[in-house]
Amino acid sequence: MFDNLLTVMIFGPLVTGLVLLLLPLSSAIARFAGAFVSIICALLGVKLFADFSPATSVAFHQSYPVIPSLGINYSIGVDGISILVLLVAVILIPMVFLLFKEKQKGYYANLMVAQGAMVGAIAARDVIMFYMFWEIMLLPIFFMIGLYGGERRVAATIKITVYTIAGSLLMFASIVYLAIMYQSQTGVWSFAMDSLTSLQLTGTGATLAFIGFMVAFAIKIPLFPFHTWLPDAYTEAPTGTTFVLSAIMAKIGVYAVIRFVVPVFEESFVRFALILAFSGVIGMMYCGIAALVQKDFKRMLAFSSASHMGIIALGIFCMNLQALTGTLFQIVAHATSTGVLFLLLGIIEERMETRNIDDLGGVAYRAPLFAACFAVAMLASVGLPGTSGFIGEFLIILGAIKFNILIGVLAGTTLIIGVCYMLWLFQRVFFEKQNKRTEQFRDLSLLETITIVPVILLIIFMGLYPQPFIERIKPAAEQYTLILTDRAEIADHTISETIAK
């Protein structure tokens, strides 16, 4: 059974989701089944993480031919780049099942499908597999926002779906281009990651293919200025879906950049790194500043999440070990902290039926545990040392300074921008005077406590002892950095040579 861990983690939830959709079950049973399956997957994920030994090779690798004539395989595995993303994806999902009650079973079924597809996209070692899971991922999101979302759900769901699919189509064209190039260079068809990395790509075609991939991922992450779907989608989606979108799906975008763009398009990547880095940093500042005046709690967190995604993406484009490690670490750190913030917001919304910040106040007096959990997650989100948020942000800023001083300094302003809106939010929600609504607020129930507190502990643990996580990503990160620094040096040489001529 343990040999097929990954396959179980992909198809277990997928099949469960489909079965839940087809069978006439009550939503309580669907919720229970979903919780059960997702917890099993989470346990398997933790086991996978523990068994994973740091190396550059692919672990838990499995490969079966699907369309041999075109070289398409069912090929999955994990390495240092994907292990943390995978961990995040599987351990966070159960929280949604445990915390929120929905009236319709379809919600839980969709969540299950989303989980399976996300794990599949993370574990895929074959581009076609990846593309397939990448598209499946979007379906449940479409249904969850469109069916169970807020008032303006239809507009939001159309926006996110069309936008993302437009990006995906560009990516698909690029995938086809890659395969054709590979066929013309080697004479065989292959869509396997490992073979595509050996491609020698030059010229306009390569640049266009690079842009195709990059746009698809930039929309998913989202990178400035492709983020405009995010505030609407995050705000209108049911909170569990927002949680999945921000904590996991956005991270898969970042992961995909490292996985597919960096090793295949080294040259274009190095060439566009500065522009992309600026886009990350500007996105961070832009969304962070916009977050300040939001009146809707969820919309503010949405902007905050987008702001942090900017800095996480920045880490990839800095092309050095510290920044890349920081990004991979921050993927987990941000998923846990922002995830908890969204979940706690969901609890507020459920109990008080409002998300308007001005309607709240004094929550801390009635619910000290709730406030404490929120405070820890908030502090991690603003990067306070001692929480997980600091390690990642510090490494990214450190790397950014090496890459480009201006970008480094701008990235540093996240320290200030983050606290501005977060503290003001905290003041208006948790401090100040209570009102009629907040006087009724219940503190976390037992189930909620045992769901959220472990993640809070993880946030603190990762801040105080990040080494187990860093060690697992280190060899792969080193390998990826090496690819890029070599390429950057070559680029430098050619530039200096042209200047010399």
Partner: protein, 638 residues
Amino acid sequence: MEQSTPYLGFIPLLPLAGALVLGLMHIATCQGKRIPDKLYGILGCIGPFIALILAVKVFFELKALDEGKRVLLQRVYNWIEVGDLKISMGFLADPLSSLMLLFVTFVGFLIHLYSIGYMAGDKNFGKFFAYLNLFLASMLLLVLGDGPVVMFVGWEGVGLCSYLLISFYSEDPANVVAGNKAFIVNRIGDLGFVLGISFLFWGIGADGFDYISLEASATNLNPTLGLTVCLLLFVGATGKSAQIPLYVWLPDAMAGPTPVSALIHAATMVTAGVYMIARFSFLYVQVPLAGEIIAWVGILTALLAAIFGMYQRDIKKILAYSTVSQLGYMFAAVGLTAYSAGIFHVFTHAFFKALLFLGAGSVIHALHHEQDIWKMGGLKKKLPVTYWTMLFGALALAGCPLFSGFFSKDEILYSALAHGHGAIWFIGLIVAGITAYYTFRMFFVVFHGKPADQSLYDKAHESPPVMTVPLVILAVGAVFAGFLNLPHLFGGHLMVSHWLSPSLVEHHPDPTLALELLAVGGSIVAFVIGVSIAYRKFGTKAQEPVYRGFHKFAENKFMVDELFGALIVTPYRYLSQGISRIIEPWVTDGPLKSMALLYRLSGLAFKVFQVGLVRVYAIYMVLGLSIMSFLLIKTLNL
């Protein structure tokens, strides 16, 4: 590793554990049955007390070592290790940090004790002690950290606790705003700190990123980078230690409970910047320009804050501005590479300023949270212990000869002279005079003269022993701490400076008797003038003056807060509004929206062809077929 000292890590860990236990107890019980305050008080004091004992142990252990080798280390585990960046969760005790350790734990413990009395009956008693313990843990981590990054953990930790404690009475939005202000302004400084250590790492961090390795490779640092690092770190210090232009948060921070003001905003946290610069003395001696900038910023801050201090009416704000002003002195000292003088002033200041704050707390407690000095008066009879202890504190702050503040301040002014900065010395002297004036203005108005508010006066009562005992202990410190570093002129041996010398890289100019006499004489004259003016104006009959013109302007703190508000806060808010109301929907989302619109328009255009008549569709078909046939014939050359 090097000599490992297994208990070093426990010094911050114990208060941290205390904070956790107290915090959980508070969360568990604050809704239901309350745990008695006494239990919280005892639990809260255990951590600081054991830390104090360990600090003393560290001190004696260091003392037993040879002068050149006074270093104790404990590396607990590898904290962050990425490529060249190797940071261990390590603790380092050397003469500098052990001195800080001693007075931080000592003053910290006394203030914990005092708080039991001051906070009695507060519904968040447990929370208060949890925060206080957390603060102490962070401060000790800051002091003991063996490298800049571990220091930064404590650095931000104290900032967080400061925020939590300033907004402790959180039902009043004004207090929370003050807390936010403190945190955000500190964060601006922290940005400087982070950038500073990042540059430092790329400069010389590859061989280990702790103080010992950094000191070893400090000479390899290129001068431009060195200046950048020094100035950026100083930006961090201006945030934490309230210097121009980031001092604005400290006066507002007085919104917190008074013991907090004493512990955090006077004795310990705000001096972290001075400590940090002394820690990096090996960098700063290489960059004299950075030092000069620091010295000037420091002395100008001292002057500015002293001027503001003259016009305040809130007893705590007077003390707050005096803290800013004294911090300015310390920065002037460390800027002039007189690190030991700066640290010595940190040391004495901790005693007398904590004493003054706690004394002020005692007065406020007695008057049921009245802080306006013009409503006090004649309290000498009602609060004898507070009166006498505050008198000692005031004398020390004002720089009365033979009190601790005199020696440390004199040391700073003397080093300004000795390093050839006459202007800094002269400004320092003026500040000393102003300090003496406003300290005794406060003192006379509060304790002498006639009660301004009889009903308040009648209800006043002396504080319980749990509050007065710390006052007395601190008063002893405020009087005698100065003798630890008695200069040669008075027959002393500069004990503290000697003790600190292994940790600091500093140049002692050769002492000349004439300069020393000039410095001492100047200080005495400044003190006498300041106190006598205060006595003439407020000694016997204090009347609330009406300020006009420049005085009014100074009372309003030169409108600096308003200026910052107009230049930074309001534009920032408008920028945010602009982005989320205008730029986001119309500019950033514009291409997307226009694309959707274009799609719709093209639909409208194509709609024209859909007439819904079968005959017309047939025409289209025929036309299409004809065109295709035509093309086919053309291409096949038929």
